[in-house]
Subunit: 192 residues, 4 copies
DNA sequence: GATGAATGAGGGTTCATTCAT
DNA sequence: GATGAATGAACCCTCATTCAT
């Protein structure tokens, strides 16, 4: 099962985006291929021209989510070289990918792991590790600069947990913006 | 659907514990009533003598998870009056309930929310809010004592997110004990 | 399966009456033994002390319905010797047994025949034939007296059909009384 | 639940006819969807591509039964203008729909009413009332012509009851033909 | 006489998947 | 690329019935 992003295949890409939203809103198990077909304006059987199985759709959604976020983080880090700004990028990119408009894929990546077959896991783990390696690097720099505490491996995990959990309580239609929230969580994290 | 804990009904209670483990390991949707029956040594139909629906089992598991944890936290807090020790209780009780041996129900509470019907949610939310109110109170005291930062409402949410996420990466058979992990996460949280 | 009326067994008789009402209101197939137990204030399993199977309850209900009605008709005919009055008795007894208060068993006899096993049918057919023989005799007398048309075998069947069907449209809480209805249907039947 | 007759959908129509016969012979409750599937040469699950629920099949059968009969009666009445002949049409069309070859749907309409959900009833009642309105009109004309007694509303009900009941005793393989039976019942009904 | 707990077969229904057209 | 129809396995749940207590 290839994890190549199907950027070149626009119809497939569109289906992945549609599925991402449904998986996020209803859960993977509770979303039927009929649901996806209906949302895409086609019969459920037609989906199987684009994907071999329902799980392949899930994996494609997840790969999209983690890859897009990794690309965005890499791009942001390429623009910043001050440790504090680089830390800020971690929070902003991650929260935007989770809570921003038209985002759904990363959340699926986080919360539907159990439905991924053992065959598909290794490929996704590679993608996830690549993303977390960026985090680790930035946090290490920040610790060296005295911005955060030294236990950066645990810090990475607790921070990611904090951010992941925001999808459970953040109110998209409330007054607190995503960027503002990112700054507030960062403030809680910094020493002093 | 009553949320009364069926402490007095031992058979039902046993079934809840069995289901909790299955729901945690395979997910609620992927666990069949036949799975539960088999694990309990009975026919799947027999389950419906004790529960009206599969979802009622889920709700019972969740209610057990959050109620037990609340009781344990309340008991621990009753024994401590120093702010730092009270904060420590938050971490230890929570992580023990999530990662300790023979624990499963709280994790189900956190990760299967989407499968709870809208009719059952309010009752569970009440239980959850009761638990989080204890957290809020202890964190407020700690902030007043200068132990943690002042934005305690957000702090409560990010800390809980950090702890919840441990189930995704903590290795029960590794060298890091649950209590030690709790202390390390607390250390990351405290000012200085 | 004995068709002896269990007059001597009051508890069993009470259960038959309770079942009759449920079978009439919901249908035999849609009525569960749990329903009967609940209505009788006992567990469903306890019913099987009184009856071997659910079908035995149905047969008991039917036997009660047809036997009671036969007894009432025989008693009424014993009091009348004028052909017109005897015909009137046919209509009054039958409609009272179908539509009167606290009546249910005869209606079950008419409309749940399909659920009776082939083993139980002969016994019930005997009871039914005994009842219809009374009808046939009275109609023959009436034809001889010029009260009704001569095709009494067909007349018996169409009249019984007319009366049976009243349960589908008669409104127990309306202004038309059962006795009045019986007279009106009789009027339609008489010659002239 | 649409009551439109699915004339244009031949597969669905075929399933309705198959179900009609099973429902008539075994009763709706005693007929399983597996029975229907087997009779139609398909898996039971496949039925649910054509119908949402088993009850939808029942309603389709009933709608077919009453609509077909209404159409046939309307067509027959359009050909006759003498009161006696119009009355004869009532009996012939109705009995043919109940007892004729390849007929089953109307009988289901009459005897499975209890299994129709309250949501589906109003639509069917409209269809039934349309049919009975034709009866009422013809009987009123006949009464005006002195052919039948004046209490036509009750007459309509008792006549329909008589005819409905024929399914319980008429022997399809006996010597009495359906048309002959219709004439005999009509003869019992006419004045003189 | 009755209960509580369970059985076990079967019920209607769902749903990912297939495939001829 | 897509459809319409079907598959077939599995799902949750029901229910008459049993039986030790």
């Amino acid at each position: 099962m290839s994890l190549t992003l199907p950027e070149d295949n626009t119809r497939r890409m569109e289906l992945v985006r549609i599925a991402a939203r449904l998986f996020r809103d209803q859960g993977y198990e509770r979303t039927t291929v009929r649901d996806i077909g209906t949302a895409a304006g086609m019969q459920s059987g037609s989906l199987f021209y684009h994907f071999r199985t329902k799980e392949e759709i899930l994996v494609a959604v997840m790969a999209l989510g983690i890859t897009r976020t990794t690309e965005q983080l890499a791009a942001a880090l390429a623009r910043e070289n001050k440790p504090l700004e680089r830390v800020r990028a971690l929070f902003h990119v991650h929260l935007n990918s989770l809570l921003g408009e038209n985002q759904a894929a990363l959340e699926v990546m986080l919360y539907e792991w159990r439905s991924v077959s053992s065959e598909s896991r290794p490929g996704l783990i590679v993608l996830r590790d690549r993303y977390e390696a960026l985090w680790q690097q930035v946090l290490d720099e920040a610790a060296a600069a005295g911005l955060v505490k030294a236990n950066t491996r645990l810090l990475r995990r607790t921070l990611l947990g904090s951010l992941h959990w925001t999808v459970q309580w953040y109110n998209r239609s409330g007054t607190l913006g995503v960027a503002e929230l990112a700054d507030q969580i960062m403030a809680l994290t910094l020493k002093d």
